[in-house]
């Protein structure tokens, strides 16, 4: 067992951006432990994104064009990964820690008798040891693996994206019929949005319960749209019905690390901080200066959001007209 198998993530339109960061970790594994880095695309459209994936620093791209994988059922996905791991002599299996990766990769690990590291943020000095955040990212755990194969889901915010400027690696196709476990796909209700994806956006504007209601939350959306950013939210705002739950940032929502993160009317509960505190620049507005959000904010403003946010919005509009 020697190679590194990277399982890429796509949606109907594209190779997701998080791959570039998760691939950085896979590349580091190959550089340290040897073996080829083999990037895999699964699903009917697999071949469509192959040439794009081949330009990262990978040694090979393998496509498994099987329509039964499009529903992203854990049974079929894990069966395919086990087939690939055996055919390509994989020692390490890596995928982003999206909901898809977190759903299928532990199932692969159990089938391969492999140790599984969720949300891995890097290697440790010791051979076969790795790092991951725990306790809502208050602590880092360093773990030793005791298995021949190791599976990972990678926290993409911990890695700089790998450049996509390499000479294209060879592409080959693999034939395999994945077996399911009886689960049937019914339907997928997509959250429709013209905004960038929360996990890829350069700017994220998030609102909390301080926005009072759906109407108030619109201010957050307006500001995000002016900056071309994504909209995020706290569990408080989601549960109060201000926005869809897909917007939730935090321990049990999305983990983001944009260039700029705005936290409006957000208290800064540990579960929320876990999802955004790796952002490069954090700006918080809250009327209560004692809230924990100010402990992570680079710029904090103690003020009523309904007074200050409209002023900010006007300032951006004015700047755009200049």
């Amino acid at each position: 067992m020697k190679n590194i198998l990277y399982v890429a993530e796509t949606d109907a339109q594209r190779l997701k951006k998080i791959n570039a960061s998760a691939l950085r970790f896979a590349r580091e594994l190959a550089d340290r432990y040897g073996g080829e880095l083999i990037a895999v695309l699964l699903g009917a459209q697999a071949a469509r994104f192959a040439s794009e994936l081949a330009c990262f620093a990978v040694d090979k791209v393998v496509t498994l064009s099987e329509a039964s994988l499009d529903a992203e059922l854990a049974g079929e996905l894990s069966s395919a990964c086990v087939g690939l791991a055996e055919a390509y002599d994989a020692r390490f299996l890596v995928t982003p820690s999206s909901t898809r990766g977190k759903d299928f990769m532990p199932r692969v690990a159990a089938k391969l008798e492999a140790a599984m590291l969720s949300d891995c943020i890097g290697m440790a000095d010791e051979d076969g040891a790795f790092r991951r955040p725990i306790w809502a990212s208050k602590i880092v755990e360093v773990l030793q693996t005791h298995s021949e194969r190791v599976c990972f889901s990678v926290r993409h915010t911990a890695f700089e994206p790998l450049p996509q400027d390499n000479e294209a690696a060879p592409i080959e196709s693999f034939t395999f019929s994945p077996e399911g476990d009886g689960a049937r796909f019914v339907r997928f209700d997509a959250v429709q949005s013209a905004r960038p994806d929360l996990t890829d956006a350069e700017v994220v504007v998030s609102g909390g319960r301080g926005l009072k209601n759906e109407e108030g939350f619109k201010l957050v959306e307006t500001f995000a749209d002016l900056l071309g950013g994504a909209v995020g939210a706290t569990r408080g705002a989601v549960d109060a019905g201000f926005c869809p739950n897909d917007y939730q940032v935090g321990q049990t929502g999305k983990i983001v690390a944009p260039q700029v993160y705005f936290a409006f009317g957000i208290s800064g509960a540990i579960q929320h901080l876990a999802g955004m505190k790796s952002s490069k620049l954090i700006i918080a507005i809250n009327k209560n200066g004692d809230e924990p959000i100010f402990k992570v904010a680079d710029y904090g403003l103690v003020d009523d959001i309904f007074k200050s946010l409209p002023v900010l919005i006007d300032a951006v509009k004015a700047a755009k007209q200049e």
Binding site: A74, I134, W135, G182, F185, T199, L227, A297
Partner: protein, 251 residues
């Protein structure tokens, strides 16, 4: 239908944490441990199945220290019928070992559905339900925000996934892990807590189940991540706009 629900005891995340000098242990400021919130949500779903006449027996299981009987009693107080504690030192287990013990419990109890939490809020592994499903060869639905029976032997699960909601139709037996919005767990009233004291709680060891759990991971140490440098509090929205324009060059 018989439902097995899994329950874990977890520390209070809001407590201040310290690491021992050699980084081998996490110390909390004497805060009360509690039931893992996602497991509480799973228990609530199971109890509602029973109230609706769709389940007839609910069994809760925990693998952990004897102190965790407190969390099993909490599940009994919510409406679970009986509980099993498989005594073990969690520090010596990993998700793989836990899933091996749970497999033995599932083979003994033969439930039609296993309801679990999507993750433990302390270690956030998000692995045990999926590993258990793989071991049993059963279908899985993780991150459930809705779980509804479809006739006698199928269940439709709505899942919170990136970009929207995904719906799966699973044949039973199946493994389901609960997300935050599946329900609001009920409060446990005094009477229910008293009654729960008389419900059966069996204490076992892995040996009694004929399993020798093998952990594939062990903790070398804990570390504290780098703290963010303290920022500044600006005096006015005008000053903030100035900073955003000149320093962050945002607009």
């Amino acid at each position: 239908m018989k439902i097995l629900v899994t329950v874990r005891q977890v520390p209070d995340l809001d407590a201040r944490v310290l690491l021992s000098d050699d980084g081998s242990e996490i110390e909390t400021d004497g805060a009360e441990p509690k039931i893992n919130y996602f497991d509480e949500v799973a228990v609530e779903r199971a109890v509602r199945f029973k109230e609706a006449g769709e389940a007839d027996e609910l069994v809760a299981v925990c693998i952990g220290a004897s102190e965790a009987t407190k969390e099993l009693r909490a599940a009994l107080a919510m409406g679970v019928d009986r509980a099993i504690l498989v005594e073990a030192d969690e520090a010596e287990l990993d998700p793989s070992a836990v899933s091996q013990i749970l497999e033995a419990v599932v083979r003994r109890e033969q439930p039609q559905m296993v309801l679990m939490g999507k993750l433990g809020v302390d270690f956030e592994n998000t692995q045990v339900p999926q590993m258990l499903a793989a071991r049993m060869g059963w279908p899985q639905a993780t991150f459930a925000f809705s779980v509804e029976m479809q006739g006698e032997d199928r269940v439709v699960v709505g899942r919170e996934v990136d970009g929207g909601s995904s719906y799966l139709d699973l044949p039973l037996p199946a493994i389901i892990s609960a997300d935050l919005r599946l329900n609001e767990p009920r409060l446990r009233n005094v009477l229910a807590v008293v009654k729960a004291k008389n419900k059966p709680l069996e204490q076992l060891e892995a040996d009694d189940l004929d399993v020798e759990p093998k952990a594939l991971l062990s903790t070398l140490r804990y570390e504290l991540p780098d703290e963010r440098e303290a920022g500044i509090v600006v005096a006015s929205v005008e000053e903030l706009i100035e900073k955003l324009r000149t320093e962050a060059r945002l607009f």
